[in-house]
């Protein structure tokens, strides 16, 4: 596979985080591009988390929660589903491919399903390649007016 890309996963504590753990304990081989952030519930995921991550330079964002009807908090994922669907459809207006963001449902016992989701999504992001960033030539453009030094986070 090509160079590792940056993928951020927001996982619900009760299902998908457990599912990822199950996959790990079961030693299922998975791509290593994904960084996981544990959330209390998919309903806690503010679409702005996803936008901030993508605009900030992540190449892909994956949200995963409990299956509908299975939410630990009864209905968090129902609200999430509406918000995240709207968000997914919104992305192309600012020039971000819809495919860079997916949301899905994985339960704590579905280790194998988790492996499948991560592999499929990672392949999808690799097919899209690194994300284009709005600030890419910001330096050159702002040359006349007060250059701000870009702090290199990767170093």
């Amino acid at each position: 596979m090509d160079k590792e890309l940056r993928i951020v996963g927001f996982l619900c504590n009760w299902c998908s985080y457990g599912g990822a753990d199950t996959a790990g304990v079961g030693r299922f081989t998975q791509p290593t591009d994904l960084r996981i952030i544990r959330m209390p519930c998919s309903g806690r995921i503010d679409p702005l988390f996803v936008l901030k991550t993508l605009i900030g330079g992540a190449d892909g964002v994956l949200v995963s929660g409990c299956h509908p009807r299975d939410c630990h908090y009864a209905e968090g994922n129902y609200y999430a589903r509406r918000r995240l669907e709207v968000l997914k459809r919104f992305l192309p207006i600012i020039g971000i491919d819809q495919g860079r963001f997916e949301y899905t449902w994985v339960s704590a016992s579905e280790g194998q399903r988790w492996q499948h989701v991560v592999t499929t999504f990672t392949n999808q992001i690799h097919a899209l390649g690194p994300i284009q960033r709005i600030g890419k030539d910001a330096q050159a453009r702002a040359c006349a007016f007060g250059r701000t030094l870009e702090v290199d986070v990767s170093a």
Binding site: G146, T148, L149, V151, D152
Partner: protein
């Protein structure tokens, strides 16, 4: 003062000549807005109207890095951390071309704050010293213009290095400062000494188009008198939506905020425009806010420009009359009207406590 003449068709060549060794900022059109952008070949300057955003950022950027810093851990003793600091003064040689007299005059208000015996701001000073202004006199006033109220005029050369006046076929080019004189050595400029009268007529017509002058000399005292008359301020600020458009587009507003943006062991200290229309401008750490409502905040804006600043700066108003705060306000709050009402309306007597 030498008078030269620049034919309109030679303008791009002169701009190219100026841009050879400096950044030249010219007003350009983007959608319906006119903003200052670096000149390069093919860029068409818009010289027939005032820019939406003044060239304030050329000397006082919306956001600038003051220094970058880095924490370095001592590998021998991890408890010890050293800080490395790099000052970042960035002042490329610049010419601001095509600003209006009001735009440029704004920096005279800045000078008294950032470059005075008490305070010498190295960032401001470096840019001020490296920036020249080739200013374009106005031919005709807009409805929101009122530079003549605050002691200026559509052909005011104060603060400029070179003054251009549109005349038949081109521009009369006059040097105002010593540094400006050096710019006039270009071979593209012809002798213009015979056309000064033509330019004077343009200046006169422009001033006349502004209409009657209203003298705000009583404003400093009257505004102070109205300081506690909150009824007045609530009344005049009722329509204000308390955004910051007026302050950010004002050539004389100079307030800033300083923040550290850190990421891991590195970071930078930046200075950014701030504005007194914002609730956060005066919010204190305790949660108390001495200017809790838009009435308090608008009072500060008007008071600062027409009372507090002139009180400590020899009566000079911190307003250049460019009118942007009026014409670009989403709800047309008119600072002229507020100052006028402050002077003309009787002050409410404070209620006895």
């Amino acid at each position: 003062m030498a008078a030269k003449y620049l034919a309109s068709e030679k303008l791009p060549a002169w701009l190219a000549e100026l841009a050879a060794s400096r950044v030249v900022l010219v007003p350009v059109k983007e959608r319906d807005a006119v903003v200052f952008r670096p000149y390069s070949e093919g860029v068409k300057p818009v010289l027939d109207r005032q820019a939406n955003v003044p060239p304030k950022a050329s000397i006082f950027p919306a956001s600038e890095s003051l220094m970058s810093f880095k924490y370095i851990k001592n590998p021998e003793d991890l408890g010890q951390v050293a800080v490395e600091v790099h000052e970042t003064v960035d002042a490329p040689p610049t010419v601001v071309f095509g600003g209006r007299p009001c735009d440029v005059r704004g920096f005279n208000i800045f000078d008294r704050v950032y470059d005075c015996p008490k305070v010498q701001d190295p960032y401001y000073k470096a840019r001020r010293e490296n920036t020249l202004f080739v200013t374009l006199a106005c031919e005709d006033a807009e409805n929101a213009c009122f530079c003549h109220w605050v002691g200026s005029s559509p052909s005011d050369p104060v603060g400029s290095d070179v003054l251009l006046t549109p005349i038949q076929g081109g521009y009369l080019v006059e040097d105002v400062s010593k540094r400006g004189k050096a710019l006039l050595s270009s071979k593209l400029l012809a002798d213009g000494s015979k056309r000064s009268t033509e330019a004077k007529a343009v200046h006169k017509a422009a001033l006349e188009s502004l209409g009657e002058v209203w003298n705000p000399e009583k404003a400093p005292a009257k505004l102070l008198e109205k300081f506690d008359d909150m009824g007045f301020w609530e009344d005049v600020s009722a329509k204000c939506v308390s955004c910051g458009a007026c302050t950010y587009l004002c050539p004389t507003c100079y307030c800033f905020n300083v923040t550290d943006e850190r990421s891991g062991m590195k970071g930078e200290r930046i200075r950014t425009w701030d504005n007194c229309m914002s609730y956060l401008f005066t919010l204190e750490a305790s949660g108390h806010n001495p200017r809790p409502t838009k009435a308090h905040r608008l009072k500060n804006r008007v008071g600062h420009k027409f009372s507090y600043y002139p009180d400590i700066h020899e009566g000079i108003f911190a307003c250049c009359g460019c009118g942007r705060c009026i014409k670009l306000c989403p709800v047309s709050v008119d600072i002229r009207e507020i100052v006028r009402l402050a002077v003309e309306r009787p002050t409410a007597k404070p209620e006895k406590s």
